[in-house]
Amino acid sequence: MEAIAAVANGFMDLFRAGSETFVSWVTGIIPLVVIMMTAVNSLIKLIGEDRVNGVAEFATKYTITRYTILPVISVIFLCNPMAYTFGRFVEEKHKAAFYDAAVSFVHPVTGLFPHANGGELFVYMGIAAGITQLGLPLGDLAVRYFIVGVIVILIRGIVTDRIYAHMSGKK
């Protein structure tokens, strides 16, 4: 009888650790994320898609803005996955590179703007949870993640653009 009880306790312990993690996430992460997401979502609705479209059309003209400003505003304003619809402003030969840049930004954006990719928060939040546990502030990491994200999508856009041009030239 005691042996069975011990097994049952061990079995429950297996899940108790998980339940503690769950509660700490629900109380520690969700309230802030919900309020931030609501605020930014409202702002986006107030600004409206039309005004963003104007900026997008301008940003496609130059290589540097095409792989920095355009993907950044598309991800922040339209979120994952509708951000890729901004590819329609881009010339056909740059569409692959634009998609590559935009999709590579859907995680770096979540440090500062969690609304943009609410379904995939834990790439950042998972790692950030460890930083919080050490008692360190998250702001520095979030800002650096965003900045490096912009640099990386610029590099990625240019490299993919070159590879695409090379491949279509061969064909």
């Binding site: 997401m37 995939e120 939040m125 790692i127 990386v152």
Partner: protein
């Protein structure tokens, strides 16, 4: 024509359907968007209808030629993108109305948890009822037209100040309310389920002693630059990256595991930044054809774009880790 109509119902734990697919001369491609290759379910539908099966990952297909899209989406993007375009969608995974496009996933356009036993030849009555999916935006449009007409009628009359202020405030409040509703929707439908599943895994890992194994194997790799470069390179290998991609589930689980190790002090905190890029070199590689078609790319562009992006990641994945490493200097020190 020799095409045959089929009926597809939802499998165990599935959602939506039954869908009756009636191929026509133009709308007759069974597109498999399952990370490369033709999924057995797509092959089965193609065989029964007599339509060609197409690998949507390597070949672009114009939307108006797609009879049905077969996806293996865990719930973020693909399962919603095709329903949004009003293309019949068959998900082989048991996923219901979820993800950012959940509101487009409806029973008349989407069916999930489909296995071979769910597909049967359609009978006459089902065929006569079916047809190509109609675009539902036509109904709301007429509503908009009605609104426009009313607005036109009112145009001549100057509104008084109080009315105009009232309308403006109402509009703003409505936007705030809609924003709140969207946020709660995504919290319940995607954030909470993810938390539940990952905290269960983490709990089992820490209670069962597997945590020590991870601490001894992953932590040393993730606390050196060469180790992270290797991780990013592996994630970016062209035939691995599309498999690792869906829903970023793997990146999220690995991120959480690394977070635990950082919290325990096994990985120095400044490595958080390069690690974020090392585990994410494959981001979006599963979604290239769908993402590019959202950007209105031509099928030929998509065909070239998929390999271009996959090869590019092999170069830019490790570069991203290097850039992040440089930027992590001075972080938390």
């Amino acid at each position: 024509m020799s095409y045959k109509a089929v009926t597809i119902k939802a499998g165990k734990g599935g959602f939506g359907g039954p869908l009756t697919l009636v191929p026509t001369d133009t709308r007759n491609k069974v597109v498999s968007v399952t990370g490369g290759g033709i999924h057995p379910i797509a092959a089965k539908i193609a065989e029964m209808t007599g339509c060609p099966a197409v690998d949507g990952f390597s070949t672009g297909v114009p939307d108006n030629e797609i009879l049905v899209a077969v996806v293996d989406c865990g719930g973020t993007a693909r399962c919603g993108v095709y329903p949004k375009k009003r293309i019949f969608t068959v998900n082989v995974l048991p996923v219901g109305q979820t993800g950012p496009l959940a509101r487009f996933i409806t029973e008349d356009i989407y069916v999930s948890a489909v296995d071979a036993s769910c597909i049967s030849l359609a009978d006459e009555s089902a065929i006569s009822k079916a047809g190509t999916p109609t675009n539902p935006t036509s109904a709301p449009k007429t509503k908009d037209q009605a609104k426009a007409e009313i607005a036109k009628m009112n145009e001549g009359k100057p509104k008084n100040l109080a009315t105009r202020i009232g309308i403006a405030i109402g509009g703003v409040v409505n936007k705030f309310y809609a924003a709140g509703r969207e946020t709660i929707d995504i919290t319940i439908k995607t954030i909470l389920p993810f938390m539940a599943f990952v905290s269960m895994i983490l709990g089992i890992i820490s209670a069962s002693g597997l945590g020590d194994v991870i601490a001894n194997t992953i932590s040393p790799i993730a606390s050196t630059l060469p180790g992270m470069l290797i991780v990013s390179f592996i994630c970016a290998i062209p035939f691995i990256s599309p498999v690792l991609g869906p829903g970023a589930v793997i990146a999220q689980v690995v991120g959480t595991l690394l977070g635990v190790q950082i919290g325990l002090g096994n990985i120095p905190p400044q490595y958080a930044l390069p690690a974020l890029f090392a585990i994410d070199a494959q981001v979006g590689c599963d979604f290239i054809p769908v993402g590019m078609s959202l950007g209105e790319a031509e099928p030929e562009t998509i065909e070239l774009g998929v390999p271009a992006i996959l090869y590019s990641r092999v170069i830019t994945g490790p570069i991203a880790v290097l850039v992040a490493y440089v930027f992590s200097i001075g972080l938390y020190s």
